[in-house]
């Protein structure tokens, strides 16, 4: 009996390790996470509008149908990225996700406080390599440090009423995501 109890205790401990390691490994091994779903639809470093979710088809689950959405799937390995979005009449937000769907930064139009949301995205290494003079004007530039070299920038514009969807989509069409010019 004691022997059996010991075997079961061992199984419980080992089971706990299996449980924790599978939970921790899940983000790295998931085949259907948001990035994988968006990869075939979105070119790298280009802002691409997503189709509105319908009952029959949606790019991702739990998308808010009241929003027009555009995604910039970024890769910072070749240089930094510039992101510019005009503010729509209703509500606009920009959210930055790592490769594993962790939202590490989000800003809305009111917090941006201007008519356009303008951001520079770079890795901490690229940020450290910025020339000193540019650091002085950093207050005017919003620089975001990306924890991972790849990830997603998601721009969302609200259509408060169904008829305003074209306005929200027009906001997305005027936004841009592009590789910043390389310093000489």
């Amino acid at each position: 009996m004691v022997r059996l109890a010991l075997w079961i205790l061992g199984a419980l401990l080992l089971g706990g390790i299996v449980h924790l390691s599978t939970v921790l490994a899940m983000p790295q091994t998931a085949k259907q996470d948001a990035y994988s779903r968006l990869a075939p639809l979105t070119p790298v470093n280009v802002l691409t509008p997503l189709a509105a979710p319908t009952a029959a088809d949606a790019v991702m689950p739990f998308m808010d149908p009241a929003f027009a959405v555009a995604v910039c799937r970024y890769d910072l390995s070749t240089g930094t990225l510039k992101f510019i979005a005009p503010v729509s009449q209703a509500y606009t937000s920009v959210t930055f996700y790592t490769r594993n769907s962790v939202a590490y930064y989000a800003i809305n139009d009111r917090a941006a406080g201007r008519r356009t949301i303008e951001l520079d995205l770079m890795t901490p290494q690229q940020h450290a390599q910025l020339p000193e003079e540019e650091g002085v004007t950093a207050a005017d530039r919003l620089i975001i440090d990306s924890p991972s070299a790849t990830g997603l920038i998601v721009l969302r514009a609200l259509a408060p009423e169904t008829g305003m969807t074209p306005t929200a989509q027009a906001t997305l069409a005027r936004a841009a995501c592009r590789a910043a010019p390389q310093p000489q």
Binding site: L12, H19, S21, A34, M60, P65, S101, V102
Partner: protein
């Protein structure tokens, strides 16, 4: 020989316990730091770098992108205030007020996060669309058959869930988690 069978037994049992616990926690949506008001539950930390490993795993599995903390907060309801499952063949009313937010949206999904097909192609309401009473309160009727006022069709599905998203809101950002209400009450009105 006894050692061999014992080890096999232990390893099989460990695999069942470990994988079973993982499956259970990911399908049930276990995550820490939840914020519950009535039937509504939000996980404000899921939209930040402080997201816990369970929420990370769950998001990786479903493929959704959580709403960022600087953007807003999402409240999920799987039952009404009395604990009844949200059945698409029953009538429910959602009534009351909402916490402070610049905009909100209410959306009806099936449990997998897909929109539910219906004839009028309405999947939710925004704070700008809703018809309100004079004191600012509102009533939304959720059910399979058309209702006057704010009708959110449930398409007769077996089970649905409601997601209330508050945009540009102080909720979830502040450290205090008490006195967050009021969130609207969900009540079953018959089947």
């Amino acid at each position: 020989m006894r050692l061999f069978f014992g080890s096999c037994f232990t390893l099989v049992l460990a695999a069942i316990i470990g994988l079973g616990a993982t499956w259970f926690t990911l399908t049930r949506g276990v995550a820490f730091g939840s914020l519950t008001v009535g039937a509504w539950t939000a996980w404000p930390k899921s939209g930040s770098v402080d997201i816990d490993p369970y929420a990370r795993a769950s998001i990786a599995r479903t493929g959704e992108l959580p709403i960022g903390t600087g953007d807003g907060v999402a409240f999920y309801a799987h039952t009404d205030d009395s604990g009844n499952v949200l059945d698409g063949r029953c009538m429910f009313s959602i009534a009351g007020m909402t916490p402070a937010a610049r905009y909100w949206t209410l959306t009806l999904y099936d449990p997998q996060g897909r929109l539910v097909a219906n004839v009028i192609r309405r999947h939710g309401f925004t704070s700008a669309e809703i018809l309100r009473e004079q004191n600012g309160r509102f009533v939304i009727n959720v059910g399979p058959r058309a209702r006057p006022g704010n009708w959110l069709p449930s398409g007769g599905v077996e089970q649905f869930i409601l997601v209330w998203r508050l945009y540009d809101t102080p909720i979830g950002v502040a450290a205090r988690t008490t006195k967050e209400g009021p969130m609207p009450a969900i009540e079953r009105k018959g089947c």
